[in-house]
């Protein structure tokens, strides 16, 4: 063993933390599309199996030209926004009540857990009977589907608020209302907002499902029609629209999070 040998200590730290990189993601995306296009052109990917991206894009342009895109999109967004807004607002309200009052919790939380597990789309026929085949049943499906996850996220958030902060509020003689407004709700907000992310994607899933069962317009109806005609290019175009809808909702929620949770990092 030579004791005059010097070696740098090998570096073993680093990793396990994420840096967002838009360029990497763009490169992956573009390469995937190029590979797909190339594969379709040389026949490696059969047109019957999957249309080329350019074909799907053409179908999308056609949709714009015919003026149908706006009709479908408007119908879908209207249902989604109505259902999701009321579902989450009611969900936050009920979730706070369950979180704050033990009587409400004892009465409602088993019910919430029981209904949460039911795939809401199975209830669509019931909703059609109750609210009619038109907009009512579709909005109700989305409302119902987004309500329950929001309730659970909200009261989970309330339960997780640091008890020592509540005790601090009491020790300064704050009113109950002040404690709820200034300590419990801000403390539960991170959980409520991540609940919104989940309910947004649930909303889109239910939207499409509801529109497939009986709608003249809507992205789901467009996809269903494309599917039954085996127009896979239109199908891919429709699915891409859904994906964009999901991405924009996530983006908006991200902005809201940045604003309200700026105290976090």
């Amino acid at each position: 063993m030579a004791d005059n040998e010097t070696n740098p200590v090998p570096f073993r730290g680093g990793g396990f933390s994420h840096k967002p990189s838009f360029t990497v993601w763009m490169m992956v995306f573009v390469m995937l599309i190029l590979f797909w296009e190339f594969g379709s052109n040389i026949g490696f990917i059969s047109n019957l199996v999957l249309p080329a991206p350019s074909e799907a894009f053409n179908a999308f342009l056609q949709l714009i030209d015919s003026g149908m895109l706006w009709k479908h999109l408007r119908a879908s967004l209207q249902r989604l926004i109505l259902g999701w807004t009321f579902g989450t607002l009611l969900g936050v309200g009920v979730g706070l009540l369950i979180g704050l009052f033990s009587n409400v919790r004892a009465g409602l939380s088993p019910l919430v857990s029981a209904i949460f597990a039911i795939p809401k789309i199975a209830l669509l026929p019931l909703f059609i009977i109750w609210f009619g085949i038109g907009e009512g049943s579709k909005v109700a499906t989305i409302l119902f589907g987004t309500f329950f996850p929001t309730v659970i996220a909200t009261y989970g958030g309330v339960d997780n608020v640091d008890r020592s902060l509540i005790r601090m509020g009491q020790s300064f003689g704050l009113s109950r209302l002040s404690i709820v407004r200034k300590i419990i709700i801000p403390g539960a907000l991170p959980a409520i907002l991540s609940g919104f992310r989940i309910s947004a994607s649930i909303g889109i899933i239910l939207l499409v499902a509801a529109e497939m069962i009986g709608a003249e317009f809507g992205v789901g109806a467009y996809i269903l029609l494309a599917g039954s005609l085996m127009a896979t290019d239109q199908l891919i175009a429709g699915v891409s629209i859904l994906s964009l809808m999901g991405l924009s909702m996530a983006w908006v929620i991200g902005k809201v999070e940045n604003y309200f949770l700026k105290w976090r990092v």
Binding site: L165, R167, Q170, S171, F172, W263, V265
Partner: protein, 273 residues
């Protein structure tokens, strides 16, 4: 009793109002486990009482009972004298874990304690500026708690407590989450605050050195169920209790001798469940 130096202007902002606190035969249990047994104690205005005792003997519980955060099973906690009108929150806590709202800035955390009171915006801004300058935090008014060191966080909590002009300060190991240097500095700050204008305080600690440095009287509790084992009085004024003080060292050793066997037994008890 008061430590207000002559040189201060008479218009000096009055943070503290004296009030006596009296505990009569306090007994408290959680389930079958008696935590506090027949505690009698009177704290008079302007006095600092330190409470020491082995882990789990009910020090924090006693402090919660004193501030009305919990009700004793039997016995009573009395405030002697009308709570002064100028005090917004006569019994005010300083917590070990600071208890700052992470979603409010330094300023916002202090204003939290004032918002439920009928105080004008202007007046509350004045109070906030004043307590921040007293705790040397004026430059950090807009900072978030996550940007502050532990010592600064606790100073914010002290500023928040000062803002409501307490009659009695209840402190549960306010320095034990801090490193020893910060602890030393903050202890100096506390003593400084008391010398400028004396206040009544109950100070719970594990640290006997802190106890002999800060307490006029030191209450030694026995292991669970906590009883008052002895009350040690230190006559030396706070201003003369610098480092390397033989008299204080002696008191500290005496306290440790009182507690040692109990502490050892309490330790074994916890191990055996």
């Amino acid at each position: 009793m008061t430590g207000i130096p002559q040189s201060l202007p008479s218009s000096f902002f009055h943070f503290f109002i004296f009030m006596d606190l009296q505990l009569n035969n306090i007994t408290h249990a959680y389930g079958d486990m008696t935590v506090l047994d027949d505690i009698d104690l009177t704290v008079s205005g302007g006095e600092i009482i330190c409470i020491v005792g082995p882990s789990g003997c009910g020090k924090s519980t006693l402090l919660r009972l004193m501030g009305g955060l919990e009700r004793p099973d039997s016995g009573e906690v009395l405030l002697l004298g009308e709570p002064p009108k100028s005090s917004l929150n006569p019994l005010t806590y300083i917590f070990q874990d600071f208890a700052l709202l992470p979603w409010r800035t330094v300023e916002g955390n202090i204003s939290l304690a004032l918002e439920d009171h009928p105080i004008s915006k202007q007046e509350s801004r004045k109070i906030i500026d004043d307590v921040l300058s007293r705790t040397h935090l004026s430059d950090f008014k807009k900072a978030w708690p996550r940007q502050l060191s532990g010592g600064m966080k606790q100073r914010v909590a002290i500023a928040r407590a000062l803002a409501v002009r307490p009659a009695v300060m209840l402190m549960d190991e306010p320095l034990s989450a801090l490193d020893s240097q910060t602890r030393e500095l903050l202890m100096d700050d506390l003593i400084d605050l008391w010398m400028r204008e004396s206040f009544t305080a109950i100070y719970v600690t594990h640290n006997l050195q802190e106890a002999v440095r800060f307490g006029h009287r030191i209450v030694v509790l026995s292991r669970r169920p906590g009883r008052v084992r002895e009350i040690v009085k230190i006559d030396k004024p706070l201003s003369e209790r610098g480092a390397d003080n033989e008299e204080l060292d002696e008191v500290q050793h005496y306290l440790w001798r009182l507690m040692r066997d109990d502490a050892r037994a309490a330790d074994r008890e916890l191990l055996n469940g």
